[in-house]
């Protein structure tokens, strides 16, 4: 029984990893590649770890596996956020078919501050008034 | 398997050498990293490869390991070599950083006045 579950988890995990890799290759821009790699990668490796936990079965291994999964869940989004943000702000080209971009023009590269939409609108109005 | 790894080691050496023959000091440093990896893998390969038998004695079996075990001595050597390589590399990286600041060029050809 455990063997079956382990096998199942293993296959699922591997396929997810495959998905992540395919996504990395096939997706048209950086951010979308990251969608594939971060999520599928984290989930895939997590599942493989679960497979190992199921396979060995001991509490010791379970503890390790849960720790590993926790670590992945903690670190993967941070990394994704950092790369995505950096990529966006240094101007990595986005896919041509992007629908909207709320971030555009809201980042002040001098003092590294990012406006919220409210602030942005306020500033726009202020500038408009000044221009008039 | 050692045949396959031997090939890989050869390629690592080759790329490392190719890089340290460049004029760019940055490539030089990257070459040094590869060189260190190459030497470590060479020891690893040369001392014999063993699958599925880490030199760890399982808990509870407070006795001698039975059967084949991967060579722990070679592993200890490589570990030492890795760490030494890391220290040296850290130094080299900062060195090229400083050299670039002083010489203002990433070009070994601008660094040949001291010799003669």
């Amino acid at each position: 029984m455990t063997e079956w579950i382990a096998a199942l988890l293993l296959m699922a995990g591997s396929l997810l990893m495959m998905l992540a890799a395919l996504g990395a290759v096939r997706m048209p821009d950086l951010l979308m590649r990251m969608h594939a790699t971060t999520k599928a990668g984290a989930l895939g490796s997590g599942l493989i770890m679960l497979a190992a936990a199921v396979f060995f079965g001991s509490a010791e291994v379970w503890a390790r596996v849960l720790a590993i999964i926790a670590f992945i869940m903690l670190t993967a989004p941070v990394a994704a956020h950092m790369i995505g943000r950096a990529g966006y702000f240094v101007g990595v080209p986005l896919w041509g078919r992007i629908l909207r971009d709320d971030l555009k023009g809201r980042y002040d590269t001098d003092n590294h501050s990012l406006e919220s939409p409210a602030e942005f609108n306020e500033r726009r109005q202020h500038e408009d008034r000044r221009d008039q | 398997m050692s045949t396959l790894l031997a090939t890989a080691v050869g390629v690592l050496y080759a790329t490392a050498i190719y890089l340290i023959l460049r004029r760019s000091i940055v490539k030089l440093v990257i070459g040094l990293v590869l060189l260190s990896n190459a030497a470590n893998l060479l020891i690893f390969t040369s001392s014999g490869l063993t699958r599925y038998a880490p030199p760890l004695i399982p808990e509870g079996s407070d006795t001698v390991l039975n059967g084949i075990v991967a060579d722990p001595l070679a592993q200890a050597l490589i570990l030492t070599a890795i760490v030494i390589g890391f220290g040296v590399l850290a130094f080299a990286v900062v060195l090229i950083h400083r050299a670039y600041e002083v010489v203002k060029a990433d070009d070994m050809d601008q660094m040949k006045d001291t010799d003669t």
């Binding site: 670190t75 941070v78 | 760490v83 900062v94 950083h97």
Partner: protein, 146 residues
Amino acid sequence: MNMPKQPDSLILRVTGHFLLPLLIMFSLFLLLRGHNEPGGGFIGGLVASAAIALHLFFTDVQSARRLIWLDPRDLLGWGLSIAIASGVIAMFSGLPFLSALWTELTVPMFGMLKIGTPLMFDIGVYLVVIGTVLNILLSLAEAEEA
């Protein structure tokens, strides 16, 4: 001081603050169990250094320095001294340099523990590794900020 500070990232900072003690604890765990499971002074030291590198990424050099209340140079000196001392201890009993001395300690809750100079040695290694990586990273980062 007119140079732009590095961009702040709330996500990195908060998660980092959470990860930092985790990493340090994990590094100690790797250090202490290294004699029996994968780990040891180096590995532990490298993980601890990674933790402080992380701290460096979400704060600045000053606060990373504050984090380890010792100057990294002290870590080097003390780490080396501890490692040497662990080897010298045996010499007072007429044994050669680096001979291991073991003692069995009965700790409530943990039962019998074998404590020896190799562990002390590994602690020295741990400190030196941290000291090394920090010295290099922090001074480089300082140069970067300057």
